[in-house]
């Protein structure tokens, strides 16, 4: 997890940090004001989801639901509607979990030889994979629709799980992590006669748990929030994921903001929960993607 290069500079900086205290109050005030602007829309979304239909459109808008009502949730989560939010939730969970699993397995397997083995074509493969990070995904949308259609995956969750699992970022991310691991443990295992696969599963993967967790989280979030692809590839209400479903919900209930906010809350709860408990992994994963890029 840690940054391998800057141990000396951080200790020096720690000294510099404590020296300056004067400007910190205005800084905290400014940053605090921005923070309020950032968090209040999310709070208002939750507040509105707990309002009655009339209360949600009342003027002036109020920050406290009166009365607190679960009516909106009851309405959207009821079985047998044209907008099956619970089904979407289950679909999103399954798709994001399987997609993240696929990403973690394929990316870590692929990253290991790129970090640790010498073979003909290695640089070529690595350069091609990294180069696709800069290719705008838009050129893949139309042909991938045809490929998915040819495979019989249209209007099915498989289309959301498999194609996006070809994560060039994942391979790059894991390779950078493997390169930074000390080689000595592997050498010891090799002298004991372990083959590459055993070394990978018994030595490398346990060491890589934090990186694997970070990658799994980022893949889960990415898949959970993916919008364009599901909107066009999933057309039946019962197979949609939550973001595509929210679009359906919005078309069906243009100004029923109580229902829309309840749907948005349902779509947000898992990712917000993951974020609250694992934000260090997520934020460090994102920040390292830039530093090492």
């Amino acid at each position: 997890m840690s940054n391998f290069t800057t141990t000396t500079t951080t200790t020096v900086r720690a000294g510099a940090r404590t020296r300056r205290g004067s400007g910190s109050i205005t800084r905290v005030v400014v940053l605090g004001a921005i923070a309020i602007a950032f968090i209040s829309p999310i709070i208002f979304m939750i507040v509105t989801s707990l309002k009655t239909r009339a209360d949600a459109t009342a003027i002036p808008p109020s920050w406290i639901p009166n009365p607190i009502s679960l009516q909106a949730f009851a309405s959207i989560l009821a079985p047998g509607t044209a907008t099956p939010v619970l089904q979407w939730f289950a679909n999103s969970m399954v798709a994001a979990a399987l997609n993240a699993t696929l990403v973690v397995i394929t990316a870590s397997l692929a990253a290991y030889p790129l970090a640790r083995m010498q073979f003909r074509g290695k640089n070529f493969v690595f350069v091609i994979i990294v180069a696709t990070l800069l290719v705008p995904p838009v050129i893949l949308v139309i042909p991938n629709y045809l490929i998915v259609s040819e495979l019989g995956w249209l209007n099915s969750l498989v289309a959301i799980i498999v194609p996006t699992a070809a994560s060039a970022f994942g391979v790059f991310f894991m390779r950078q992590f493997f390169v930074g691991l000390p080689i000595e443990l592997e050498e010891a295992a090799r002298l004991d006669g372990a083959n590459r696969f055993v070394i990978f599963t018994q030595v490398i993967l346990p060491l890589a748990k934090p990186a694997l967790a970070t990658l799994a989280l980022l893949a889960f979030l990415g898949n959970w929030n993916d919008f364009l692809w599901p909107v066009y590839v999933l057309f039946s209400p019962e197979v949609q994921t939550l973001p595509a479903g929210l679009s359906t919900l919005q078309s069906a209930n243009a100004v029923r903001y109580d229902l829309l906010m309840a749907g948005a809350v349902v779509a947000s709860v898992p990712v917000l929960a993951l974020f609250i408990f694992l934000q260090r992994f997520i934020i460090e994963g994102v920040s390292r993607s830039g530093v090492k890029g």
């Binding site: 010498q118 073979f119 995904p137 390169v179 090799r190």
Partner: protein, 336 residues
């Protein structure tokens, strides 16, 4: 850092092709393993990924060119080869496709030109304010980042509500401040652009700020101290230490922000439905609708390559601007 150390011990397995007659040995020392093992093992590790990568990245990238050279209607059995006709049509002012396409390119251009500078400058300012440790810093960082984890569908549906011209919170508070309280944020321009850009800044500011923050922390403090000794004030330190120190990060953030803005879709699809008229219908929106709603895939594929060429040219330009003018001389001196 340990790349060389790691690779030194491995024999270079490039000399021989694998042959079936060679026995596979399970029990190998580091340097005495069979060559065959070295040649096939890496590909076994790579195989699952390369299957996905080949099938859903390389194949479509090539197939797209093929599609764009055909009059490819998904719903029709015949997909005649038309050469560059799809591209020619895009560049013929009178054709049915060129007007909507360039209109959407214009929308993408407006959105990119408005959002990218804000998404480069505001998160940098926030990151600079947060670069020194203070109580609650990690908490604030998490709050700024929080909108990003919500995803475009949630934030778009949420902000369409907040920006509702009759009952939305935004107009309500603008009214309390004595400002016009009846702006139609999602159905008129230029207000719709303000809304789309503002919401996007709110959504992704934290993402860029977090990357900046990590970059700032990699700039050695000694450089600031040396600058201070030379009499540089905060502004000069920012210009001559912070900005050069952030160069690789700046180039990375500029590229990913440009690409993200140029690929804007969800905000427009959900907040403005591309309106008023087609004014906020972005290129991606137009491509997806042409190809995947109207199933004119040949034309849509051609559009996607035209857009891609624009994006790659801009990316190359950004790389050129941020190219390393001098090797990191100063930094090396300090670190060694």
């Amino acid at each position: 850092m340990s790349t060389k150390v790691g690779e030194r011990v491995l024999p270079t397995g490039r000399a021989r092709r694998p042959s079936a007659s060679e026995p596979r040995s399970q029990n190998r020392g580091i340097r005495t393993g069979t060559r065959q093992q070295w040649i096939t093992t890496p590909w076994l590790f790579l195989a699952p990924y390369l299957l996905l990568f080949g099938g859903f990245v390389i194949l479509p990238a090539v197939l797209g060119v093929w599609i764009s050279l055909h009059s490819w209607d998904y719903t029709l059995p015949n997909k005649p080869f038309v050469g560059f006709d799809n591209y020619v049509a895009l560049f013929s002012p009178g054709s049915t496709v060129s007007g909507p396409f360039w209109g959407s390119m214009r929308a993408t251009g407006i959105f990119t030109a408005l959002s990218v500078p804000l998404l480069l400058i505001v998160p940098l300012a926030v990151a600079l304010l947060m670069s020194k440790k203070f109580p609650g810093r990690d908490f604030l960082r998490a709050i700024y980042f929080a909108p990003y984890v919500l995803g475009v569908a949630v934030i778009s549906v949420l902000w369409r509500y907040l920006l509702d011209n009759n009952i939305g919170l935004v107009n309500h508070y603008l009214g309390l401040l004595g400002l016009p309280d009846d702006t139609a944020w999602t159905t008129t321009t230029p207000a719709a652009w303000v809304a789309l850009v503002g919401v996007t800044v709110w959504w992704t500011l934290g993402f860029n700020a977090v990357i900046y923050l990590a970059g700032l922390q990699d700039i050695p403090t000694e450089l600031y101290e040396a600058a201070r000794v030379d009499g540089a004030g905060p502004w000069m330190q920012f210009l001559h230490v912070t900005i050069p120190g952030l160069r690789p990060i700046l180039s990375f953030i500029t590229i990913i922000t440009l690409l993200a803005s140029a690929n804007m879709f969800g905000q427009s699809y959900l907040m403005t439905q591309g309106g008023p008229g087609r004014e906020t219908r972005t290129a991606i929106y137009q491509i997806a609708d042409t190809g995947l709603r109207n199933f004119q895939m040949g034309s849509a594929a051609a559009m996607s390559y035209v857009l891609t060429i624009f994006l790659m040219a801009i990316s190359a330009f950004v790389f050129y601007i941020f190219r390393e003018k001098q090797p990191k001389k100063l930094e090396k001196e300090v670190r060694s």
